[in-house]
Symmetry: C2
Subunit: 359 residues, 2 copies
């Protein structure tokens, strides 16, 4: 179930970047060293750019602070959030690799029930390299895992699956709760190790958490925009949710898969629920309109690339969500800016190639 | 995770029947005694009615053989399959209880990873008594379980959930594979204990297995028809699948939930893959048309009861699937006969009451 560190060193070493948003020294990398050291890190420093972030020796990394972001993107830098971990998506944009793994700096190596350390990155890679099954539910979960398969009654025409664009991992110890739930259940810890990976069915939205997340940048990268959060914005802690909703409707439209479940990381420290409540409270209202909006989004057939889908989505956000709050008007503009910036930095790869040769 | 036998004795004792289709003596009940003895059993004897089925002492049961079915249903008995475990649905019809648990006689008590025997029935009852969440995916699985909750980004308006109509349990040891998969992987055993219960999202179909299944008869009973299989029919081993597809589209229409995952039973003996292939092969072709049919089914708003939904579904089956094979014409007629027979035997409870007072 967990990969050994040695076998991980050979998995996609030159095709994957690890993106870490941070405001502090990256001591947490020490624990991840056996798993992460073979990979290249993209560190996105949030907050005061004059502060020095220490990275443990032996890691191969590039680091971007706010000054770098402003210099590289110019006026378009306003689409990248400041004083919010949403800034991490800048790392997705400057990467040149096919795969991205992003992790928070308060996430540590978890253990499986046998006590063995879990190679989260190794499991994400497995998830991304094997297909998804969004069109019909398999009751034994991921049919491509060792010891599992498609069960009786699963149509044979669907057993080839579709390419997996996203691998969403989970968290032991501190669960990813909203502020009200944190306030009501301050002592709740997630101790349940669910030994499953599953495809989120087509047409179903999910709350995508950015703490422990991997994706295929070529397949879905331009949709992994973490929105406008933090400094100067009326909302926080919805960056990954926003990305997740956009990503899911685009994956559904393009026939790509989203997996959730394994791997677990150990989430060490709950963020302050009072601070979180301040960041979240508008989102708690807004999501009651946002979810129905995304549930009814239809993308036209001529949206054959992620970029085209995303620009169309921005248009629909402006049309339908601006009446909820003027914030969405600004967000829709930022979504367009993001795509412009993405295409500028990724001229050869834009639009991204789909495996079926489309676009 | 597993319930103790003693606490199970108090759970819905007078509101649940256990339905067992069989052709042999029910020795397998010995192992289930601590869990099943408090409950009433409905045994549906398949095949030769002159054969005597022995039931271990101490169980409270009623037994129906083919002669009983013919006597009770008269000409309508032709909707109940013969020489196929699909006959079990007769037991659903004659029950007067709110809940049904049905299990195959080659299913034994499984153990959880700590070695503790799993009270499958106790877990099914838990599943049925707590709500489902079909409108949005919760990444920590069933949010109502101890130690779990709704994660950040889950809309608060959806946290009440909807009533659960079906609890679909799984199998350790012999997985529920179709004949081709059995032939290709004769030695595969399911050893993975996935400690999760989850709601199958609205709009997603799944392969419902009848081996280890519980449901709320008041909420969904009339849709739990296991079709025409076995003797005189061109197909077998699609009885539970058919029921599952019908049940799922009706649950989606009526706002009811379907859960899958825990509990596990231990499935002892693989059925003969060659015999299975003969029974299944038409189904393997047909399901390629059946699944798209069910994926596009829309039930009109005035279908406010399970019976009305089911009659409408029968009409659509006749209209759209008869061209696949004349069998579906016969099946559609049998679906109507089933509802007539159900309403005859359940006059007071027809139409079933929905918890929201509809119908």
């Amino acid at each position: 179930m967990a990969e050994s560190a040695s076998s991980a060193t050979s998995m996609l070493k030159d095709e994957l970047d690890i993106v870490i948003p941070t405001i502090r020294n990256l001591d947490f990398l020490e624990m991840w060293r056996p798993f992460f050291q073979p990979y290249h890190l993209i560190i996105v420093q949030d907050g005061d750019p004059s502060k020095t972030i220490k990275v443990p020796e032996g890691f191969d990394y590039e680091l971007y602070n706010r000054n770098d972001i402003n210099r590289i993107l110019g006026p378009r830098a306003n689409c990248i959030s400041f004083k919010d971990s949403a800034c991490r998506c800048f790392g997705y944009m400057v990467s040149k690799k096919k795969y991205i793994f992003t992790i928070d700096d308060d996430c540590f190596v978890a253990s499986d029930p046998s006590g063995k350390p879990i190679n989260a990155l190794g499991q994400h890679i497995k998830n991304l390299l094997c297909p998804s099954t969004p069109f019909f539910f398999n009751t034994l979960y991921d049919p491509y895992r060792d010891g599992a398969d498609f069960v009786r009654g699963y149509p044979f025409s669907l057993r080839e699956g579709v390419p997996t664009a996203v691998s969403h991992g989970l968290w032991l110890n501190i669960p990813d709760y909203d502020a009200p739930t944190q306030l009501v259940k301050p002592l709740e810890r997630n101790t349940r190790f669910v030994d499953a990976v599953l495809t989120i069915p087509k047409g179903t939205l999910f709350p995508m958490c950015g703490m422990n997340l991997a994706f295929d940048r070529d397949l879905i990268g331009p949709a992994m925009y973490f929105g406008l959060m933090g400094d100067g914005q009326p909302i926080g802690r919805y960056d990954d949710m926003w990305a997740g909703w956009c990503v899911k409707v685009i994956c559904d439209h393009l026939g790509l898969g989203v997996k959730t479940g394994l791997p677990y990381i150990y989430h060490s420290k709950a963020s302050n629920p009072f601070v979180n409540l301040r960041k979240e409270y508008k989102g708690i209202f807004w999501q009651e309109d946002i979810i129905p909006f995304f549930q009814q989004v239809v993308l036209p057939k001529d949206c054959t690339t992620v970029q085209k889908c995303y620009i169309e989505l921005a248009k629909q956000v402006k049309d339908k969500l601006s009446k909820v709050d003027p914030y969405f008007d600004k967000l829709a503009d930022a979504m367009v800016t993001w795509i412009e910036a993405w295409d500028d930095l990724n001229p050869a790869g834009a639009p991204a190639k789909l495996p079926n040769g489309k676009a």
